[in-house]
């Protein structure tokens, strides 16, 4: 095996360290391995509900989230499992969510990766209604601007979600209020079965930037270092008072909208082409082992660690307890903390009164 040549530090872009280069690899690998594990569990019918993949889009999620600090706030979508991992989400949390476990982050109320943590790790639980997270993140970052906190926010929208009124109202509000917000359009070519040409007549999504009076930057979404670079620039601009940036990351959705979708609407060979010639992990491995002189052995070791991590998380998640029916009545409001059981259920295992509302359940004071 060729002796790796020590690269000159200059050769590493965006001032990243070698450890960070490896970290980026690890996050992408973890994303893919974890999703593959979810597929296995899905086939074993251990996953409740649909399974959403980000295969081939890992660089968008990982590279962009990597440009944020812990205090910064991320608003992920269904293709951004990788972003959540970078932001501190634990594999076991993801697995428990997908398996609807009683100790999952949402206690079984919400599905898949619809969960968040605004107290410590700073990512916000998404809802299904596309576009809605943009106004919400405008408000999060408005707060930082009002309180002069050097924190920024990053929100993703898909190519399809750009057609929603909520996206428009949110980015316009953020722009005019000069909120420290990065809006990332993750353009993966499809909205469910709908190709981008049926979603907009614009040639590129950054053409929308000028209409909001904000800078627009387009980048190769399958080049994790490029994604990091452009996002980092936008994040720095936001942090220094430069307001909103619209980023467009070009990538490709290699799996169906969800696991059940057979992608009948995709031109033959298209998926295979991207898999063979434009896989974000393959491309990054090439650069790591080539240009940056990483020992392939090192990457293999990382792969093994990742697999071990996922194995362990899987065992933990499988051992997790299921949800308990009456818990469903807790925490709709801070006050009252629980809803009463309906009259005809009297004495039918309604143990609501026994439950305490955990202090963490969405009150400011803790």
């Amino acid at each position: 095996m060729a002796v790796p040549t020590l690269p000159s530090p200059l050769a590493i872009p965006s001032g990243l360290t070698r450890d960070q280069l490896l970290e980026l690899y690890r996050w992408m690998r973890l994303t893919r391995t974890l999703e593959e594990r979810l597929v296995a569990l899905y086939r074993q019918t251990k996953v409740v509900g649909g399974l959403f993949r980000s295969l081939g889009q890992e660089a968008c999620a990982v590279g962009s989230a990597f440009a944020l600090e812990r205090r910064d706030v991320l608003s992920p979508l269904i293709r951004n499992l990788g972003s959540m991992l970078v932001k501190g989400a634990e594999p076991v949390e993801i697995l428990r969510q997908y398996m609807a476990k009683g100790d999952s982050p949402t206690r079984g109320r919400e599905l898949n990766i619809h969960f968040g943590d605004v107290v410590d790790r700073n990512f916000v639980g998404q809802i299904s209604h596309l576009g809605d997270m943009v106004p919400v993140m405008a408000g999060v970052t408005l707060t930082f601007r009002m309180r002069n906190e050097p924190r920024v926010g990053l929100v993703y929208v898909g190519d399809g979600a750009t057609s929603t009124g909520a996206f428009h109202e949110g980015i316009n509000f953020a722009a005019v209020q000069r909120c420290p917000l990065v809006v990332v359009v993750e353009n993966n070519g499809y909205a469910y079965s709908t190709p981008t040409c049926r979603q907009t007549l614009a040639e590129q999504f950054i053409d929308k930037a000028i209409g909001y009076g904000v800078p627009g930057v387009r980048a190769d979404g399958n080049d994790v270092l490029e994604v990091y670079r452009v996002t980092r620039e936008a994040v720095d601009r936001a942090r220094s008072g430069g307001g909103v940036t619209l980023l467009e990351l070009l990538t490709y959705r290699r799996k169906g909208h969800a696991e059940h979708d057979n992608q009948s609407y995709v031109a033959p060979g298209e998926i295979e082409h991207w898999a063979a010639h434009n896989d974000p992990i393959d491309r990054y491995v090439e650069r790591l082992t080539g240009e940056f002189g990483f020992d392939p052995e090192m990457l293999r070791r990382t792969d093994d660690e990742v697999r071990a991590t996922v194995d362990e998380a899987t065992d933990q998640a499988e051992a997790s307890p299921p949800c308990v029916g009456p818990d469903a009545l807790l925490g709709v409001y801070a006050d009252p903390p629980a809803m009463p059981t309906l009259w005809y259920r009297a004495g039918e295992g309604s143990a609501v009164s026994e439950h305490e509302r955990p202090a963490s359940w969405g009150t400011h004071d803790g």
Binding site: V48, A100, G102, L130, G160, A191, S193, A328, L342, Y344
Partner: protein
Amino acid sequence: MAEITFLEAIREGLSEEMARDPSVFCLGEDIGGFGGAFKVTEGLQSRFGEQRVIDTPIAEAGIIGAAAGAAHYGMRPVVEMQFIDFVSCGYDMLTNYVATARYRAFLPCPIVVRGPSGGYVRGGPFHSQNPEAAFLHTPGLKIAYPATAEDAKGMIKAAIRDDDPVLFFEHKYLYRRIKGTMPEGDHVVPLGKARVAREGTHLSIVTYAATVWKALEAAEQLEREDGLSVEVIDLRTLLPLDDEAIVATVKKTNRVLVVHEDTVTGGIAGEITARINELCFEWLDAPVRRVAAHDVPLPYAPPLEDFVLPQTSDIVRASRWLAAY
């Protein structure tokens, strides 16, 4: 004739109306070549062409508004919400523009907004909703919510032919579980008329959509185990409500249980109770009682969803209480 599913019945109704009337066309997200998230419109685009089965951007307010505009100029658009939960994004357009069009400006607005609704499918809070009550106090709208495959076909055809806007709810739990044999010929089920799903004498269960089937299950169990004769009324149309049918069953059994899947507070059962109160209070031998979902957003984990939603056993318990009153 062969049995077809609830879902196929809707597709058959759509395609018969499109064949019958060139002004009927469909628009929605992924409804074209893909045939929609649940495949309700599968095959329609290849049969009627891209002009009449239109894949739209993700913009519920936009496509509902566009449907209204087309309707003003002689078309009869059928809009699909990928899940009915997303109709909330078109709430302003529906309640302010569409519903008032005829009244405020004499604008014809014969559109149908249809989509998969309802729970019992582990869909979580945003893919399981029953938003019908939110449109109940909007004069100008009609609300249809069939429970059988025969009605699904007959009512979608009636909705398309109606000269006013109709919200058409399709319970996704029924899509493939419920089958029926379609009557020969042009099978149209008029809006505004309820259906006696089961004759009975001791008490009445007034309900609609998926819980019609749970009510029937409960009725059988009550007959078997308690010798109770339970009448089940399937409302079918929620706006306008069929007061006659409601009053008839109350006068017959004098005991009413209203059952629905929506939350108990603010659900349609309140309106029905008020009408019974106004129209036949003297005939009541017991208070009208409600069996419905608990007042929480619908959670996703099976034990939670099962606990929140009304189950057959709940209807049985409530019926026993009512019969013994």
